[in-house]
Every structure is written in structure tokens, then in C-alpha cells.
């Protein structure tokens, strides 16, 4: 059992998402920074798809009525050991501050995993569709699953990933924009807007002008798609984005770089470069 003492600005339960239901209109949801969630699980010996707590801009305080093994990854928050499995004695409270150096989302794994009921195969909170558990509130008590056979890891995870341009490849609707739009996309230092959330990271910069009038019919999209609404300011779709959208998608992020996008804070600058593939 984990008791939520304070949720901070936003804390949700997340695993690797609700895949396979998109054709019925169900977003993928799941941890925005999937690699950080996987590492947190690995540190406490959990399977990679166990549910963890996604903490947005720190501020989470949890009380452990029974002794537990935890691990914290993602954005570095003061208040707990970072990137290693650590034990917490029964009755103790772990209280996290705001992440200092950079990054937005931290992941707290508990050995055994957060064992709330799964909905359509996932324990993830989908803030757009209202699927899965509600966002966490003070007083919530989250069940913890049985400890896995695998022992906690003695490893230490890397603290942070240095910022770098996010890799994109052009998408089928890139031809809705002028020939120079791809150049503008990759030569601009975009600013992350304050109205960004798990549905989309909204960017400010020069408007990407459309060269084609009219409305696109609703088209399927994917987390990581860069959608451009009528005002020309791109939105990088996040895990809770709807599965279809009516705005043209100019480019798609490399899958691994979506994790980095999940760490962008309002006010951060972000750049893109063309290229995909692993690495």
C-alpha cells in the first residue's frame, strides 16, 4: 500500500499504455517518458510494464504503511535517492521537492508495482478520455502487487540526458505547407508553451504557413506527431492525445525521442533535426 500524502501539481498512475484499442478511439496513454518508467521498474526488479507513479514537477509525498523498495527516475527531485533502488521502513514518508536541474516528469516505482485495477489491459490514467484511475489526490491509497521473483537491481541509472535536437521525419501532410516549412521547423528554437500537458506539447515560434486551404478530414494520429492547427503553431501530440485529428501533421518524432519530449518544461526551448532510426 502507498498512501498519497500530497500529489504535487499532478501525479498519475502510468504503465506502458493501452495499446491495441486505438481503432475504437482509445488513446495509448501510458508514461510520457517510457524509458524512465522502464528503468524505474528494472531497478526494483519489476517487469517493464508494471505501473508506476508519474510525477509532474515534483511535490509528491507518499507514506508507506509497510516497508517497501522504491526507485525514482526521470527528472531529478530532491528528497529521495535517485536512480537506485532504496528501502523505506514501515510508516515512513517520502517527500519530493521540485526538480531543480531540468526535466519535468519523475517516475516512482514500487517493488511489486502499483496494483490498481487495469482498464482495457492498462493501469494508466488517461486524462483526456477518463479511462483508468483518476489523477492522484491526498488520501488516496494505492495497492501494491506481490513482489516479483527478480531481486532489486544494484545498478545506478544515469541521472539525466543532455538536451539535444529531437529527431523528426516528414509526414504525409508536409505538402500542406510551403517548401520552406520543413526548414523553419528544423532551424527554429521553439519555446514550450505553458498550456502544454499530456495531450500535447504546444510550441511557440514562427507560424508554419499552410499553402493549402480547406479542412483536412479527420485523420489518425500517433503520440509524437507534430500537428499544425490553423494558427500555424505546432503541437507535439502526447500519450493522451485523441487518436484522430483534423489538423495536418507535418512531421513525426522518432519514437525514442518522444521520451525526451516528455521532459520538456514550459519555457524550455526545443529544436528538431531530420533523421529517424535508433540511437
Amino acid at each position: 500500500m502507498i498512501e498519497i500524502v500530497e500529489p504535487g501539481p499532478l501525479a498519475t498512475v502510468q504503465d506502458l499504455g493501452r495499446t491495441g484499442w486505438a481503432s475504437l478511439g482509445v488513446p495509448r496513454s501510458g508514461a510520457f517518458d517510457r524509458s524512465a518508467a522502464r528503468v524505474a521498474n528494472r531497478l526494483v526488479g519489476n517487469p517493464a510494464d508494471s505501473a508506476v507513479i508519474e510525477i509532474t514537477y515534483g511535490g509528491l509525498a507518499v507514506r508507506l504503511p509497510a516497508a517497501a523498495t522504491l526507485a525514482l527516475t526521470g527528472a531529478v527531485c530532491p528528497g529521495a535517492d535517485f536512480g537506485v533502488a532504496f528501502s523505506v521502513a514501515a510508516g515512513r514518508t517520502v517527500r519530493l521537492g521540485a526538480p531543480g536541474a531540468g526535466g519535468l516528469r519523475s517516475y516512482l516505482a514500487v517493488r511489486g508495482g502499483v496494483a490498481v485495477d487495469a482498464v482495457l489491459g492498462s493501469r494508466s490514467t488517461d486524462l483526456l478520455s477518463g479511462l483508468g484511475p483518476a489523477r492522484l489526490h491526498a488520501g488516496d491509497r494505492l495497492p501494491v502487487g506481490r513482489a516479483p521473483a527478480e531481486a532489486p537491481s544494484g545498478a545506478t541509472a544515469a541521472l539525466t540526458r543532455p538536451p539535444r535536437p529531437l529527431r523528426i521525419s516528414l509526414a504525409p501532410r508536409a505538402d500542406w505547407f510551403g517548401l520552406d516549412a520543413a526548414g523553419v521547423l528544423t532551424s527554429t528554437a521553439w519555446t514550450v508553451r505553458t498550456d502544454s500537458d499530456r495531450i500535447g506539447v504546444r510550441l511557440d515560434g514562427p507560424a508554419l504557413a499552410r499553402t493549402r486551404d480547406g479542412e483536412l478530414t479527420s485523420e489518425p494520429t500517433l503520440p509524437g506527431a507534430l500537428q499544425v492547427p490553423a494558427d500555424g503553431r505546432p503541437i507535439l501530440l502526447g500519450p493522451d492525445a485523441p487518436v484522430t485529428g483534423g489538423y495536418p501533421v507535418i512531421a513525426v518524432l522518432a519514437d525514442a525521442d518522444l521520451d525526451l519530449a516528455g521532459q520538456l518544461r514550459p519555457g524550455d526551448t526545443v529544436t528538431f533535426r531530420s533523421g529517424s532510426g535508433s540511437g
Binding site: 495499446t19 491495441g20 484499442w21 486505438a22 481503432s23 475504437l24 478511439g25 482509445v26 482498464v119 482495457l120 483526456l128 478520455s129 477518463g130 479511462l131 521525419s169 509526414a171 504525409p172 478530414t217 479527420s218 485523420e219 489518425p220 494520429t221 500517433l222 509524437g224 506527431a225 485523441p242 487518436v243 484522430t244 501533421v249 513525426v252 518524432l253 522518432a254 519514437d255 529517424s276 532510426g277
Partner: protein
């Protein structure tokens, strides 16, 4: 049909005839290594696991499927959705298209529809087959809360709001049918390719 790259884990298929979208989606969903096949109004996004398949293999599967997919078969009976036609926009839509409300209701109940795709929110089905006389624009300003079960039209589509949400479609009526239940399999009443009729409740 065009099959276009969409990042390193997906392709977007655009058949020449949008009515092939549900059949193409179903065929793509069955291909090896496919994680999700999602339909839109005119396109199908096929998301795959690059460790198990490739864009080229998906393209081949789609090309083969295109040869024998057709508009959805009439094998299974249509789902009947009972509607009380008392929607907030019924009178104004009827006036705009020079019909009486009862003529509008006759047109809406007289057609058979097919789910082209689901999107917007879980279980929200875009139904193909709306009489062209009822193709109307969305409301200039969307409502902040459309009640669950609202039966509505916009553009070439009709649909039912599965749960209360913001929305800009024109409201014709309401149904008690449960469009979305996570404990049901499948959770959506109206899945891609399903045939649908509206009947006065």
C-alpha cells in the same frame, strides 16, 4: 492506393475510395507485427513493431488486401439505436435545410449507416451514409458539454456522443443505448465496419 511513411513505426494508407477504409483497417489489423490499425475518414494508420515487421511488409499486406476488400458486407444484422428526436438543434437544422423536423427525422431514420472509423473519444463512431440533404456544418461555437447519448450530425457524418464531452456537432436527439462500456467486449457498441440504423424510440 497510396501508402505513405509516417515515422519509423507506422505507415499511412490512403485508398482511392474512402469506403474501403473499414475493410482495409480490418485487414491491416490482422497482419503480422501490427500493434494498432486506426482508421480516419479517408486513411488508415498502421502502427507496427519494427522488431517484428517492416514498412515494406505492411505495404505489401495492404496492397494484397486492397484487391479483395470491399465496402462492408451485409452479413451481420444492423445495430438498431433507439432515438428520441428532441435535440437542441433539430428545429434550426431543419429550417436551414428547408425541411420540417419530421421530414428531417424521416431522412435520418430512413438510411442505413456504416461505421467508417472511431475517434474523438472512446466509442465515438463516425457513421457513413447520411443523406446529402443533411450535410450541415458544425456549430460555429462548440458546446462545452454535450450530454452523453446525444445523436448528432456534422458534415457527411452522423454519430452518438458516448459520454458527456465538449462538442460542435448539431444535436438531433438522444439515445439510452450504452455506446461505451469498458467491461464489455468489445467496449464500443459501434465498431469500425458495423452497420447501424436509427429507430424512433
Amino acid at each position: 492506393m497510396k501508402v505513405l511513411p509516417y515515422g519509423e513505426r507506422a505507415v499511412l494508407a490512403e485508398p482511392d475510395d474512402p469506403h474501403l477504409v473499414p475493410g482495409l483497417r480490418a485487414a491491416a489489423a490482422d497482419a503480422a507485427g501490427v500493434i494498432d490499425a486506426v482508421a480516419g475518414a479517408c486513411t488508415v494508420l498502421v502502427v507496427f513493431d519494427p522488431a517484428r515487421t517492416s514498412a515494406a511488409a505492411i505495404r505489401d499486406a495492404l496492397d494484397r488486401a486492397e484487391l479483395h476488400v470491399d465496402a462492408p458486407a451485409e452479413s451481420s444484422p444492423a445495430v438498431e439505436v433507439p432515438v428520441v428526436y428532441d435535440g437542441a438543434d433539430l428545429a434550426s437544422v431543419a429550417a436551414n435545410v428547408d425541411l420540417s423536423p419530421s421530414q428531417l427525422i424521416d431522412l435520418h431514420t430512413g438510411a442505413e449507416y456504416t461505421v467508417r472509423f472511431c475517434g474523438f473519444s472512446p466509442g465515438f463512431a463516425y457513421l457513413d451514409g447520411l443523406d446529402p440533404r443533411l450535410h450541415v456544418a458544425r456549430r460555429a461555437s462548440p458546446r462545452t458539454a454535450v450530454p452523453a447519448g446525444s445523436v448528432a450530425i456534422a458534415g457527411e457524418f452522423t454519430g452518438v456522443y458516448p459520454r458527456s464531452s465538449p462538442g460542435g456537432w448539431q444535436l438531433l436527439g438522444r439515445t439510452d443505448a450504452q455506446l461505451w462500456e469498458v467491461t464489455r467486449d468489445p467496449p464500443a457498441l459501434l465498431t469500425p465496419g458495423t452497420r447501424v440504423r436509427f429507430v424512433p424510440a
